[in-house]
Subunit: 243 residues, 2 copies
């Protein structure tokens, strides 16, 4: 069966997350509806199931269908059907058996904080507005505590029987004008893990939590030890890496 | 009477333009409602009456009120009331008699065209997607024909008895990644003038109209000689200059 890989971007604001759910608008449902005239019904697989309101600049989706399709023609057709909220950046044929989810070896997310007193209408949809001054150095010390193979139970919304050990490969904060941007790469992430990291780091940056207290939050392996989750609309899945 | 000057930014998507109109949501109405608890009812004056869907990064508004207000406190209060679509960047007290409209000596607009095959969900709200290749050099030749003091009747939506002579001080196209950005500065603009310039330049860039034909479009002094108007959502009022 021919197998295809899609690279897509979306503005998450209008969607109840990536994954199909009955009764609500999801990226997966719109994508599979747009695919159907070309491929028939497909059961697509996604690299990162983003939550309601979370964006993607480099999400990867794979699917198989019974007959071959022309990748460039499919991309053009999908873009004309999906409208500006979802864009198909690339379509390619891949080896049979390829899974966007199980073959992914690394995911990278970015979280944007607008750090100035005054809001910005043009960044409001894709950043969390924090007007208190932030100590970037302390936030980088906090983020450093996440790097390595660790049990992230304190930072994950509980999913029964799901392992919460993950390998974080890098986690850094940088300033870009009035934005403070968190870039984090891991083998994979559990549910709400990035937004929980951001909530802790911002509390460290504001001086509400000491950077030195972060390792103990992780060691508690208890969701209640954390600082909640930063708002979804600041988060973007930026890239997925394959071997 | 104390007089104040506001520097504001807004995402025009949710508004039927800047100027108050009965029955629809406008920036002016929301701004004056947010001002009222501090200033009482005001009759504000704006530098550039932007159309439905047009954005502003540096719009200027002035008003007088019977009692003095604290500018910094007013800015904070307005930002907390107006939410992320409208931001008050600065509030200052100015000389009595100052008018944001009549004292302005120059307005600058930018128009953003996303010029690549694939749409971009994150630029969709603030740029016009043109997927055909654009010849930037030809577009700059076309834009050069707008510079100087000229009658722009061909580029203005007719307003009875209103003069259509304007002085355009600069008009240039530049590339910024996948964006092609038009920057234009004039003493003032008549209605739909920038979007009409953009429609002509993009048709020149696509090779549909010759750059050499642009002076004749102006000389016709006839709206029908032009190429319509580019969509509102690509346009932003970026700055207003005072003596």
């Amino acid at each position: 069966m021919p197998t295809y890989k899609l690279l897509i971007a979306y503005d998450g604001a209008g969607f109840h997350g990536y994954a199909r759910q009955p009764g609500v608008r999801t990226v997966q449902a719109e994508l599979e509806t747009a695919l159907a005239p070309h491929t028939g019904p497909v059961d697509s697989v996604v690299a990162g199931r983003t939550d309601k309101g979370v964006h993607a600049a480099g999400q990867v989706v794979s699917f198989t269908c019974s007959e071959a399709v022309d990748p460039a023609r499919l991309a053009r057709s999908l873009n004309s059907r999906l409208g500006p909220e979802v864009a198909v950046l690339d379509v390619s044929e891949v080896d049979a058996g390829f899974s966007a989810r199980f073959d992914a070896i690394e995911r990278s997310y970015e979280y944007r904080v607008l750090n100035r007193e005054v809001p910005d209408p043009f960044l409001a949809a894709t950043s969390w507005h924090v007007d208190a001054p932030l100590d970037l150095e302390a936030m980088n010390v906090a983020a450093g505590a996440f790097v390595g193979e660790r049990d992230f139970a304190s930072l994950c919304r509980k999913a029964a029987e799901r392992a919460t050990v993950r390998e974080v490969r890098s986690a850094t904060w940088r300033r870009e004008g009035d934005l403070v941007v968190y870039a984090v790469t891991a083998s994979s992430f559990c549910h709400q893990m990035v937004r929980s990291m951001v909530a802790i780091c911002v509390d460290v940056g504001r001086g509400v939590v000491a950077a030195a207290a972060v390792p103990a939050i992780l060691e508690a392996r208890d969701r209640h030890a954390a600082r909640g989750a930063a708002p979804a609309h600041g988060l973007t899945l930026v890239a997925v890496r394959y071997a």
